[in-house]
Symmetry: C2
Subunit: 496 residues, 2 copies
């Protein structure tokens, strides 16, 4: 059918069977600054009861943005929010008040410390959903977790929404968790204390995704980024474990030119980096890539010329924040790093990873989420992602802590299945997963501290009398998911 469109041209509405919509008019584009207050931004994004608000955790224990946002939500009289943060820390203890006031009633995301303790004893309206870094990215991508409003902390942003964590007084490193939220959330608010001239010189989040830029007095205290799991140990027993990890990598033939390694956070993993750096120098080996979180330890290896590339998704200390300001390198957002639904990830080439545990069991299953008393006190982080990717996945832990057996018959909560765990390195020897016959063959003549996992468990039980009874309720307060979205385990209420 011929019709005259708004430009006065005679056009057909169907051509060769393809339908066309006639032009209805053109107008000049107008833009106005997106800068406003946090409360106003939330209001303009249509905040209402029951919505899901997402946050990243890259200011870690120095983050003020989650608390400030929930304060604004409360002032706006809105309730029943689902928190979809990538992680909560001690600084987020006020979340407990927001839960008690009904502002927050569900959480999907990692919880560390006090909020986890509280939730373990006081079930929310539905269980806390714990996912790995890659698993969370995939859940947002597939729509399993849909943020209505993504609230993204930035240490600098321009008035149109281009935003970064690299520069500014409260710089915390590149924003790397929030790209998927920016892409899939219905609304996006960048929260910053530092509105810079357009265009912001780094743009981990781009204006094309941003509805509003909320200007606040302070996004956080970056000196508290280095918290808890990001401090190196000085305990001789743990240092011995770290050293044994490097011996195991070496015996297994991974310490050679071109190796790709990752360190988890946690004191022993960090100490391993120190010893690995020394070993690379001793053997004059040049690794190809270090992946994961940046620390001074890894940057030192890089500066000494013993690793060619730093492929990082987080920045764990002040030194590293300054380093990336001077030499950006290869920041990889969490999707590039670990999205299990992608066609290729930075972790796919991993040779070795050293990860922590709150418990391991005789099937090589690992728990990092709950303590042995059942309390949910930690997130999954990249544990599952890297464990399933690395050619040599090492878990470190003492055989027991005080009266609690760490190596045990069955983990209290399952985080990472034994199928992807290759070795447990403890203060009383190294247990290699019997499924890895090839690995055992390679290292058995080179290491004199190999033991069976049952032996380790027996020693733990002898020293402690075995696991204590724990007092759990029937209510499920949380679940751990495998990064493919399936249900690994359930976490029960802890009775006071």
């Amino acid at each position: 059918m011929k019709t005259k469109n708004a430009a006065g041209r005679m056009v057909e509405t169907t051509i060769c069977g393809i339908k066309f919509k006639p032009f209805s008019g053109a107008r000049k584009y107008k833009y106005t600054s997106k800068v406003t207050s946090l409360a106003n931004a939330l209001k303009k994004c249509g905040l209402k009861d029951g919505m899901t608000l997402s946050f990243h955790h890259q200011l870690r224990n120095g983050d003020f943005v989650v608390n400030k946002t929930l304060e604004a939500v409360k002032e706006l009289g809105v309730k029943h929010i689902k928190l979809a943060q990538t992680a909560l820390f001690n600084v987020h203890t006020p979340v407990i008040d927001f839960i008690e006031e009904g502002v927050v009633d569900r959480i999907e995301g990692s919880i560390n410390g006090p909020v986890g303790d509280y939730v373990s004893k006081n079930p929310l309206n539905s269980p806390v959903v714990l996912r790995s870094h890659g698993g969370r990215w995939a859940a947002v991508k597939t729509g399993e977790l849909h943020p209505d409003i993504a609230v993204i902390a930035a240490s600098a942003a321009d008035e149109r929404g281009n935003a970064t964590g690299i520069i500014g007084e409260n710089a915390f490193g590149p924003i790397s968790y929030s790209q998927v939220d920016a892409l899939y959330a219905d609304h996006v608010i960048v929260v910053t204390d530092n509105v810079v001239d357009y265009p912001c010189p780094y743009q981990e989040i781009q204006e094309r995704y941003v509805d509003y830029v909320a200007h606040v007095d302070c996004i956080g205290d970056p000196r508290k980024i280095m918290f808890g799991t990001t401090k190196i140990t000085d305990d001789p027993m743990k240092l011995k474990i770290a050293h044994d990890c490097v011996d195991l990598m070496d015996a297994a033939g991974f310490i050679k030119n071109g190796m790709v390694f990752q360190s988890g956070a946690g004191g022993i993993s960090l100490a391993t980096m120190k010893y690995l750096g020394e070993r690379l120098m001793e053997k004059n080996v040049i690794a190809n890539c270090a992946t994961g979180g940046l620390t001074k330890l890894i940057i030192d290896i890089y500066k000494a010329g013993h690793v060619k590339h730093l492929y990082y998704s987080q920045v764990f200390d002040d030194y590293s924040v300054k380093f990336v300001q001077e030499e950006l390198g290869l920041p990889a957002d969490i999707g590039h790093y670990a999205d299990p639904t992608s066609k290729g990830r930075t972790i796919d080439g991993l040779d070795t990873v050293v990860l922590g545990a709150t418990e391991v069991d005789t099937d090589f299953n690992v728990n990092v989420n709950t303590h042995s008393d059942g309390r949910l006190l930690h997130g999954i982080g990249g544990h599952q992602d890297t464990a399933a990717a690395a050619k040599l996945t090492i878990i470190t832990c003492p055989v027991y802590r005080k009266t609690n057996p760490i190596v045990r018959e069955k983990v209290t909560t399952l985080t990472t299945p034994g199928d992807v765990v290759d070795a447990i390195v403890t203060n009383e020897g190294i247990a290699i997963n019997p499924r890895r016959k090839d690995l055992i063959e390679k290292v058995k003549d080179k290491l004199d501290n190999l033991v069976s996992i049952e032996d380790l468990k027996n020693r733990a039980y002898e020293a402690t009398g075995g696991p204590a009874e724990i007092n759990l309720g029937d209510e499920i307060i949380g679940v751990t998911k495998w990064f493919d979205g399936s249900l690994l385990d359930v976490i029960y209420r802890v009775r006071d």
Copy 2:
């Protein structure tokens, strides 16, 4: 319902009304190199009759990848391909043979030169769909144009698919058209003649989107990037037009600190950049941003300190290719630059843009696609996008060329509607759109060469005797779309 999952944990399949899928097993991730031949990559991506293959045009008239790919398609015995390139040039003349052989039977994308001439006379199975840069990005994003396989030329790529156009012997600048294809195509093939060690140091395309890396002997001849529309004019009449554009910007008050400007390709637009640079220096003005394609002219202004930021999506000459290798600056992919469905774009802040035309009419409508004989010989590029964004949109053209009136009653084909065009600058004066009363008010006492568009048309008709009759058929061979997806105009077959 309680069930035992593959890790031996007892879990519920419904908790608080939410359904969960029990864990079914974990396995170690394995990866192999993605490098293979182009034919094999196409085969493994399931190439079959009727599929849509997309390409970028950043090697312009030096591109070998479109022809090589169609050769491989032909050898595989596959037909009825829809080409969804961002643009074709003279180098793609062999596409005519592929059309005649039935390998290609539809095109959605810009066509410049011989293929356009051919298609104008030999209709394809459905009309060629012409979109602006931003319009094409949006069409892929919304699914209106769905590439089955995205074929992405790269001057360097690693074996996992991280790819760039910035480095390598055949570097052509950052890949900026293909991100949306990588994101939405079912399959992605990176084509390179330069497989570099992992990780590729620049990554405009990331491994997460890439199925295969096709290794070919040569992706193209980057010396031919600077072709046709990217050479500055030396015609005194055109230089005068360019100079008048700068006078108009100045009279309208746009040449001041913080201005944001863009130049289209094309000889006059480029000359305008030269004069604008001189004016910025004379008046000691520092612009904030130059957007669009990089050329030596714009880089000279930057190096002289008269524009603070270069926000670029294309690189138009060899000098600029080298420049971005040394100083990356702010490359913006085409989505960031111009996606009309986004929440903010680099062009949204444009003060001025200078664009070309094959014809303009007394309603200030602009044609850049067809010549006055009806032949489809050019693409839309960023014409519509920037025209609708800029506060001052200037179109330049001579009043007539030889015996053909360029300013006329009605354009042969509508590319950009007069509603977003502010001024036509010609060799016989400047016509300002009467809708822009504010602009007329600002400049009328400062410029002595203002004329009405009707006057320009009359002069053109007096000199040429008016538009020649053209001999068109009934078949529609192409359509122009506005960047919102609506139908601006139809293009009819030209009879020989």
